[in-house]
């Protein structure tokens, strides 16, 4: 992790379809970061609602990531598209209260790669 990120709190919502073994894979990183990082595995990113994202910020996250499967690859057809739209809506809302849009970030994975949650998280946190 970059020095500048030290002490920041992260909430990571991710579609569990991207890493079938997420439960095990995320452990090493949780061990390393402790309460600094919280994972919210969801059955489909389409389940994300603006309220979830707001509550994550409210409970202290400095940065919220929503990781979705590649567009077109959603098991439920358009879950990831929904996630994107809802994230956008929430970005507008937090901007109105003077927060950076960037606090909420959508990570849409590229098709054809095998991702594991731990590697992905390391990439995100630099």
């Amino acid at each position: 992790m970059k020095k500048t990120n030290a002490g920041k709190k992260y909430a990571i919502f991710f579609c569990q379809q991207i890493d079938k073994n997420q439960d095990v894979n995320r452990r090493s990183i949780e061990k390393e970061f402790g309460p600094q990082i919280r994972f919210f595995p969801i059955p489909c990113s389409g389940r994300i609602e603006p309220l979830h994202l707001m509550r994550a910020i409210e409970s202290g996250a400095d940065k919220v990531y929503v990781v979705t499967c590649p567009e077109g690859a959603c098991r439920y057809r358009e879950g990831n598209i929904r996630a994107r739209k809802r994230l956008l809506y929430t970005q507008n809302l937090i901007e109105e209260i003077g927060l950076e849009r960037g606090m909420l970030e959508l990570i849409r994975l590229k098709a054809g790669n095998n991702y594991t949650v731990d590697k992905l998280t390391r990439e995100l946190l630099g």
Binding site: P50, M54, R55, E58, L93, I94, E96, I97, G98, L99
Partner: protein, 221 residues
């Protein structure tokens, strides 16, 4: 249904600035349908205000509540015993709801968090269009159930004007020209003849002399 949109956060913030204990009241009917004042939106606004207050190092206490209808006494009454504990109330009801709340709780400081917009229809997910102006003199029967008062920008009864292009209105090219729709639909029904008649000037008096009311003896207690 009555539609509304949330006021800009800046304006809401201004209204509640002097207060610390705030009750946000949503309405589970029209504004929930148009995703501006239902339970979820109450949650979003509350969340946003709390975060905002925290960032400004202000202390604020917010309670969220959503009642079935903000314009009906029986539902509003659920706030009795709760509303008194708050310095201010942000209503996510339509204008009717806000006024109804204020009437029943005359002492409470009630502020609107929504701008009430129009009576409309959920055209498709995420799109609401106005289709009734509540003129009180419905002529939809003559116009293939497309309201010229509402849906023609100029409320023409003997339209269309000369501005229609590609079937859309010149005022908002995103919207279909109501007269184009009326003519097409009447033509499909073989009833274009209806339009040969010249419609006399509308009796706008039905739209009200001051605030309107409906009195139904059979429905009143």
């Amino acid at each position: 249904m009555i539609t509304a949109v949330r006021k800009p956060m800046e304006e809401i913030r201004g209204m509640i600035a002097p207060f610390k204990k705030i009750l946000i009241v949503g309405c589970g009917t029209c504004v929930a349908e148009c995703a501006s004042g239902g339970e979820k939106e109450v949650g979003l606004l509350a969340s946003a205000l709390r975060i905002d207050a925290k960032n400004r190092k202000r202390e604020i206490e917010i309670k969220e509540m959503t009642i079935d209808r903000q314009c009906v006494y029986e539902f509003i009454d659920q706030l009795t015993g709760i509303i008194e504990n708050y310095e201010a109330v942000l209503s996510l009801g339509c204008g009717a709801g806000v006024q109804a709340l204020a009437e029943i709780f005359p002492v409470a400081k009630i502020f609107p968090a929504l701008n009430t917009t129009f009576i409309g229809q959920t055209k498709e997910p995420g799109l609401w269009i106005e289709n009734c102006r509540a003129c009180g003199d419905c002529k939809l029967g003559d116009f293939a159930a497309i309201c010229p008062v509402t849906r023609c920008s100029k409320s023409l009864f003997n339209g269309p004007c000369g501005g229609s292009k590609d079937g859309n209105c010149e005022v908002d090219p995103e919207l279909p020209c109501a007269w184009n729709l009326i003519i097409t639909r009447l033509e499909e029904k073989g009833e274009l003849g209806r339009l040969e008649k010249i419609y006399e000037p509308v009796d706008w008096s039905k739209m009200g002399k001051g605030p309107r009311k409906i009195m139904r003896e059979d429905q009143s207690i």
